[in-house]
Amino acid sequence: METPGSHCDALSAPWHTREVAPSFDEVYARLRDPVWRLCRRFTRDTEEALDACQEIFLRVWRGLPAFRGEAKVETWVFQVAWNHLRTREAGRRRRPRAVEPRAGERGSVPLDVRDPRPGPERRAAAREELHRVECALARLPLAQRAVVWLRDGECLSYEEIARVLGVPVGTVRSRLARARAALRKELLP
């Protein structure tokens, strides 16, 4: 039986195998996009995502000299990012919401979507589809959103996700199942 593949199957070998901690420049070059995408999943607009990213990389920069390689660098950086985003989200929930999410902002769909078919109509359709996915993701509970994004978006293993989120692997499995079921219900009715 053949299982349907995903973009995670095409990942290359681990980028960092040295025992010593990589430089901040290396970490930034490798993880700027993944951290940005994670921030986009947990913030409401570009400005907020930029602010969160800057704070996360500042923490990474501060903590990197003490990083001893107990985990992969990606896992550690995602851990830093998740802790910051979760705290930020909790603070935002305590404050009264002054501005509702902007409809156009949430769908910050990239222009270079993987649609091999040329033509503006196809591209527009692909953008629309991605916008739907992004909205459906945004409606998931925070913990489920984190699990499904780290697995399907950033291709982390169950064990790595458990480490990033600080929960048992079994919790990751059950949250992932619930998250995908909810997305399936919404996206493929």
Binding site: T3, D33, W36, L137, R151, E154, L183, R184, L188
Partner: protein, 288 residues
């Protein structure tokens, strides 16, 4: 151990998280059950859709924001430790300053409870009273900590305003205040002698109202001069002073004598009366 649900099994199968035996048995089920196969395909579609969002790249503005970190020197490995030490030092100094302030402002803290085996050589209540009462640093710290830890006692009930009895007639009654602009009453004859205040005891003051002289148990804080101060007092039917105002031209600076308000001058009819306050020499509080 709980049995994983079919949903969980499908997801784990999709992600390659199942052991070979479980995966094989699930594949057999998938061949037998088209609905299960369809569910698996839909979950795979969801995974692919979410994965499509992973093509998004960070805007160049993020690079500008991160440039100071990328181009600057790396942080010192001991930086967090140094920061923690600095924070601890600031806290310790701050606590010391607070304790010292509290100690200075506390007049005479209660003696500390007896410490078994180490009797205190200096009674704490006598600290500061003389050379023999100089507390040791340990006692100072104990007293300050006790002061901080102790539950503040409930405030004492407010004392009833003193009812002052007249002590004798004035040699000459001041002029009536009725009519015309207020002016200082003329005082003639012998001035009431100022009581001699003993050392350490608040000296009293003499208040003369409508020809009657009243002795105040302690000089009010407004006593800033040795000369008589001309006032105008307003009393209610019970003789309680509602307001005591310095007359224009009278020496001193305080326009209102708050210390006199609330006192009861028994027998004095309600209304406004001119008064003279004579402060004893020992109670003068020179104006700054």
């Amino acid at each position: 151990m709980t049995t994983p649900t079919t949903d969980e099994l499908l997801n784990r199968y999709l992600d390659g998280d199942l052991d070979p035996g479980t995966a094989r048995s699930l594949e057999e089920r998938l061949e037998r059950e088209p609905a299960l196969r369809r569910e698996l395909d839909e979950l795979a579609a969801v995974r692919r859709l979410v994965g499509n969002l992973a093509t998004e790249t960070a805007p160049p503005r993020l690079d500008h924001l991160a440039d100071p970190l990328r181009l600057g020197p790396p942080p010192h490995p001991l930086r967090p430790v140094l920061r923690a030490l600095a924070t601890a030092a600031v806290l310790v100094i701050g606590a010391g300053v607070i304790l010292e302030t509290v100690r200075r402002e506390t007049p005479a803290p209660a003696p500390p409870p007896a410490v078994v085996g180490t009797p205190s050589p200096v009674p704490h209540a006598a600290a500061g009273a003389g050379p023999a009462g100089v507390p040791t640093p340990r006692e100072e710290l104990l007293g300050a900590v006790e002061h901080l830890m102790a539950t503040p006692p409930p405030p004492p009930p407010l004392p009833e305003p003193p009812i002052l009895e007249p002590v004798g007639p004035l040699p000459v009654a001041p002029e009536s205040a009725s009519g015309g602009p207020p002016r200082a009453p003329r005082i003639s004859g012998t001035r009431a002698p100022a009581p001699r205040a003993s050392r350490g005891t608040p000296a009293g003051a003499i208040l003369e109202v409508s020809g009657t002289r009243w002795t105040l148990p302690a000089a009010p804080v407004e006593c800033t001069t040795a000369d008589p101060v001309f006032l105008r007092v307003t009393v209610d039917a019970s003789g309680r002073i509602l307001r005591a105002v310095r007359l224009p031209g009278a020496p001193g600076r305080e326009p209102v004598f708050r210390a006199l308000e609330g006192r009861v001058l028994a027998g004095l009819p309600a209304g406004t009366h001119d008064a003279v306050l004579t402060c004893p020499a020992a109670a003068h509080r020179p104006e700054e």
